[in-house]
Symmetry: C2
Subunit: 331 residues, 2 copies
């Protein structure tokens, strides 16, 4: 089996999740890691090249088949994505929903110009949940499909929103738990197809560690005003110590559901619900990203170029199995 | 909007479900119905041509863009599928899992020779559940994905198995309810990834109306020995009157789940579950088939030819929405 050589670009939680996922996929191989802090990465990973971004630009396409971009969506990916797409195939989890069209077109232009494949905005949401929403809408016409996060009592830890909190001056560390609004989910299950504002479906709970002497009132106001991330939601900000954060809010648990309900024919009820429950969101995201690296390599091999989302990819391309195996055992 | 003209081939329960679904999709248009009994169909449907198979062979490609084949998998589709694929694009719900590879290759040959697109084996299972199994396997490597039917107390009515019962000499009418084995589903949810035989996951309950004087023992033995359909399962056969069947077991309720569970990284639990609950299985199947007719027309328009399964189709092709709408509101 010719292995797909994967470069990890950015080695935070998602990068670690991708590293773990590569080890679970026998057709995948770690080719190297690119980081702003190669010394830090070298303390965790050995046996592969660990490089800085600027060192390797001209050689990226030689180093690996696909780069999985694990930077943040707010500051990293808008620049790093199009830059990397010049040099090689990429997969990323750009998760700022309101800016997806703009990011898609920037990546499509860069990847087309560089003659590469770039799969954008994949992982859980956007990603699998985007797929399940779209299928729900297609298979239950007239219904709408809704994504809910954090159905359990603890809620789900959002990495994108936690990253966004950490970009605020004065914030040392932070974690954001998303909670589904139970009444909203019940309305969807009953087939009401309500017109929600984002803030009707979820609330956001932030646990924030700040620098000594930081202006907490200003930080709280900055958080609550962040467009896209927090402004539309009922947001609770809790300032706590690093110790309390580490102890009570550790790990990356996550759960969610995509739900769609409506009727068929003359009023027969119809409901679809897709659920996932994760002990570790970044490891699960890593699994999804690695499956997309497999798809990117296949799209590239068949001559496709430009940007893609999960909606543009034949699902068989995510599977390690070939057509005959899928026909015999998975259909 | 240029509408996709759909021909319904075979007008039983699924054909009626497709008819209802076409009415709910503004980009779809009924072009006609082909039936062995056009007189019977004409009592239900007016305003479109209702034709016999032999009448129309040469004209099929003119009549419509896509035919949705609604015949049974046991006797109808193995002949009807390749015959139709010579003349036009087709979508079908061939559901005899063990014969899918053979049917795929027959359809691929016929559709390629006729220069058409044939999407096979879609609906719920095979179909969406095939997709969800494959995604579960791809995104949770090392885990296995399992399809369960009939999680509710009444079980789920299987149309394919009911059709199979009705082919047995002496059987006047019949309905088959599938029941999930609860302990099997719990084992999957716990991440055990057990090696099930089909009979470990489901039991089959048959309600059968026979001709006066029929040999019930022989019919029961025939049912229990049917390869693929009943032989591998614990099967209960109940002989009842037509009145009791009509009264107690009417309608086409259906529910099920695809479940996959395993671990990520160093033992973090991970679980995916896809559920659907239908008041009417054939209407839900009709919705899925019509979405695939949309995909077939798009594949054909871009020059693709031959046989496809749901695993070969970019999910965006099922949606009525265009790329910009999907990027803006569904990713």
């Amino acid at each position: 089996m010719k292995k797909t050589r994967v470069l990890i670009a950015g080695f935070g939680n998602v990068g670690r999740g991708v590293l773990a996922a590569i080890g679970n996929n026998p057709d995948m191989e770690l080719a190297g890691i690119i980081s702003r802090s190669p010394e830090r990465v070298a303390r965790e990973v050995s046996g592969v090249p660990i490089l800085k971004y600027d060192d390797v630009a001209g050689f990226l396409g030689l180093l690996a088949d696909v780069a999985i971009l694990c930077g943040g969506s707010k500051d990293d990916l808008p620049k790093q994505g199009p830059w990397m797409a010049q040099y090689m195939n990429t997969v990323d989890s750009f998760d700022n929903h309101s800016r997806v069209p703009e990011y898609f077109h920037a990546m499509d232009e860069a990847a087309s110009k560089g003659s590469h494949v770039s799969i954008i905005s994949t992982g859980w949401d956007p990603g699998i949940f985007s797929l399940e929403r779209t299928l729900g809408g297609a298979f239950l016409p007239g219904s709408r499909a809704y994504g809910f996060y954090g159905l359990g009592p603890k809620g789900g830890l959002s990495m994108g929103h936690s990253d966004a909190l950490r970009t605020i001056p004065g914030v040392v560390d932070a974690r954001q738990f998303t909670h589904a609004v139970p009444e909203a989910l019940e309305r969807v299950r009953r087939g009401e197809n309500p017109s929600f504002q984002p803030g009707d479906m979820h609330t956001r709970e932030c646990f924030v560690v700040v620098e000594p002497g930081a202006d907490k009132a200003k930080i709280e106001a900055t958080i609550k005003a962040m467009p896209g991330y927090f402004a539309p939601y009922k947001t609770v900000v809790n300032f706590i110590s690093q110790e309390e954060l580490n102890e009570k809010y550790k790990g990356f648990p996550h759960d969610g559901a995509v739900a769609a309900a409506g009727t068929t024919g003359k009023g027969n009820p119809a409901r679809i619900e897709y659920r996932c429950v994760w002990g570790s969101n970044p490891e699960a995201t890593g699994n999804v990203l690695v499956a997309h690296a497999r798809a990117a390599a296949r799209l590239f091999a068949e001559g496709r170029r430009g940007a893609f989302t999960i909606l543009d990819i034949p699902p068989a391309y995510f599977s390690i199995y070939d057509r005959e195996e899928l026909l015999a055992h998975w259909i």
